[in-house]
Amino acid sequence: MTKTFSIPLQAPRARALSVLVYSSLAVGYLADAAFPDLEGPLFALTGVLKLTGLVGAAALFLSNYGQQSQMGDSALDERERDERNRAYVATHQIMLGCLFAFFIYGLVAEAAGLWRPQGEGALDMLSAFAIGSMALPGAILAWRDRALPDEG
């Protein structure tokens, strides 16, 4: 099993980090897109949330779970390969679900005259989607990890 650089995270910490990442990304980017004229402390707060989401997602990506999701077949045993593959299937389903929900909301919002992201706001939300997707396989592996602590 090939060793690559990774940030060693126990499952509970990786799970807590994933909650922080996705809540920060959602609140930070949504608030920024919905209220583009924010100023002062609220503007700073959305910036902090977006940065927290970005740095946290990078940490998750570089964690042992994120790296397991990136490793080639030869670096993993058969159970790890199976877990990695199932994490990617779940990632694909979640990403597609979010994209379709976003498009359907856009159609409904246009017809009903509701708020929907425009221009730079939409681009920002796409960035949040890309950042979240980057860390998602690792986050899924952390949430599904059933190894006992004494098993190394």
């Binding site: 099993m1 045993d77 058969e78 159970r79 790890e80 199976d82 059933r146 190894a147 006992l148 098993e151 190394g152």
Partner: protein
């Protein structure tokens, strides 16, 4: 026939005084995978099952079965009755 895979890995490993890590190294998997196998949370491929059986020098069906294994005491009693 049950879909659940039962195994005697912990017993065989304990008899040989072998750690999970040692068995894992012999068959080329992560030690965690041995734990998953022992707890019945993962069904091995045929290749891995055969490798593990080869380590213990027993047929694969001695280690893995679709029906629960009888307790050793009951098995010994059955054998002694069979052998008269």
């Amino acid at each position: 026939m049950s879909d659940e895979l039962h195994n005697r890995l912990p017993m065989f490993r304990a008899e040989r005084g072998m750690s999970r890590r040692e068995l894992a190294e012999l068959v080329g998997v992560n030690p965690q995978t041995i734990g998953f196998l022992e707890r019945g949370e993962y069904g091995p491929s045929l290749v891995l099952a055969l490798k593990i059986a080869a380590v213990f020098g027993v047929p694969v069906e001695t280690l893995f079965a679709l029906e629960p294994f009888q307790p050793i005491g009951a098995e010994l009693a059955r054998l002694s009755r069979t052998n008269g």
